[in-house]
Symmetry: C2
Subunit: 242 residues, 2 copies
DNA sequence: CGAGCATCGGACGTCCTACATCCGATAACC
DNA sequence: GGTTATCGGATGTAGGACGTCCGATGCTCG
């Protein structure tokens, strides 16, 4: 509703104008009741409709794309996007790596938040977990154990394990957020070096978490997750100490 | 180090190239060991160094700005930015409002995540809370009560209350995330209408949460927070039901 | 007659030029 | 010496030109 027309003299800062432009585009989507997957007007049409040059408009569109609001397909068009948190992951990864040059504060904060989410929600997840989902979790554990026995890294299996733990909650936002934290942690982990972690021991830790979940023991599961994160936190601290 | 020169034929998709460009910029910051507040090269210099046009470069820069990686000041220059989660808030707000047109799923998921964070971390926060911080929380409660008695809305006081609850943890990422969730919820709240909420009752609810925190009763505090969020969740469900 | 292929048009991607706007700093002026 | 005017540099905005990609239309060939 703020797009009553072309503003002859925008007296606000350029930054505010760009934000307003982004808001206008989002408002336009909401007003036209477009759903995920629906096409947006072309760049030319939008630039005319919003009274800005194509260049300025594109800068806003790229931001919206990065924010996961729209999806841009070369040579085809623009569409309302399904959730996409990749960009957020990039931003947070950057922050985490930047912080590692100091005390690793932000990296540790990231672990704190992830810990709060996982150990706080594991109980609810256990409540609604099906036997199939439980089996898929064990599958991930087995995979980790096999890879650990072979002396190989098990990044993907580890990620899968944590994802499946909270799949029962059916909360996409949560899954996305945890995926972001995971990605960031992986990048940071690479940064601080291979570490001297014991693969077999780590796999066993996940096995015990699974056991608690399978037994429906919410308290133990939460506690074990906490301990798991304590280890991660310790490793980051050690790396920064160097 | 990937910027060994101009690539004559970029065979990858445009989207991948833009992402690579963003990564290159972030790598450049990390390689040069720039800290928050340090200046970046000018647009012209960067466009030459990275082998892309100023326009293409600017699109990436705008994304990085939105992601809170860099700060752009008109007519002055670009700098490594302190944390900024405003853009994330905008993206999530959009998603939330979009979801309200359906079942309000994403909006409810947002509340779930916020609930997990708040009720999960309140215990830790109580552990390290100082008397000054406790007093500042009561201050926020009083403000809410006064505004409620006057029949006025207390958006800011409510936000302050929740922020101060977790200030003791000294976790900027958490504060930022909760700030995001708060902003999104406020926008959604406006969307679903004024509602028939009882201001006095809501203020009383916050007073009871404060009481539990002051008493060091972690279990009660967590439980009260849960109930608080149940109310929010119910209100969203009602609004969608219309 | 149908499958495969070439062409076409539209839409996004990139680059360039030009000018506007803003900011800090220098230098002139009172 | 303090204040103000000007300047230079940097970002902001606009428009145009051309490249690249994609889907679709229509043609050709089996």
């Amino acid at each position: 509703m703020t797009t009553s027309g072309v503003v002859p003299q925008a007296r606000f800062s350029a930054q505010a104008r760009l934000r307003a432009l982004q808001s206008d585009i989002m408002e336009l989507i909401l007003e036209r009741e477009l759903e995920a997957g629906d096409p947006l007007p072309t760049e030319s049409e939008l630039s005319v409709a919003l009274g800005v040059g194509r260049n300025t408009l594109r800068e806003s569109l790229k931001v919206l794309q990065a924010l996961g609001v729209i999806e841009i397909r070369h040579g085809f068009g623009m569409f309302v996007a399904p959730s996409n948190f990749d960009a957020l992951a990039d931003g947070l990864t950057f922050r985490g790596r930047l912080s590692l040059r100091h005390q690793g504060l932000e990296a540790l904060q990231l672990v704190d938040v992830r810990q709060a989410l996982e150990s706080g929600l594991i109980g609810s997840s256990i409540d609604v977990m099906t036997t199939e989902q439980l089996a898929s979790i064990e599958e991930a554990v087995k995979q980790m154990e096999e890879l650990a026995a072979a002396g190989e890294n098990f990044v993907a299996a580890d990620a899968e394990f944590h994802r499946r733990l909270f799949e029962p909650l059916n909360n996409e936002l949560l899954i996305n957020l945890m995926g972001v934290f995971w990605k960031v942690y992986r990048k940071i982990h690479v940064e601080i070096g291979p570490g001297n972690e014991d693969l077999v021991k780590t796999a066993a830790m996940h096995r015990s978490i699974y056991a608690a979940v399978a037994a429906g023991d919410k308290v133990s599961a939460s506690e074990l997750l906490n301990r798991h994160f304590d280890g991660i936190r310790r490793r980051i601290s050690e790396a920064v100490g160097d």
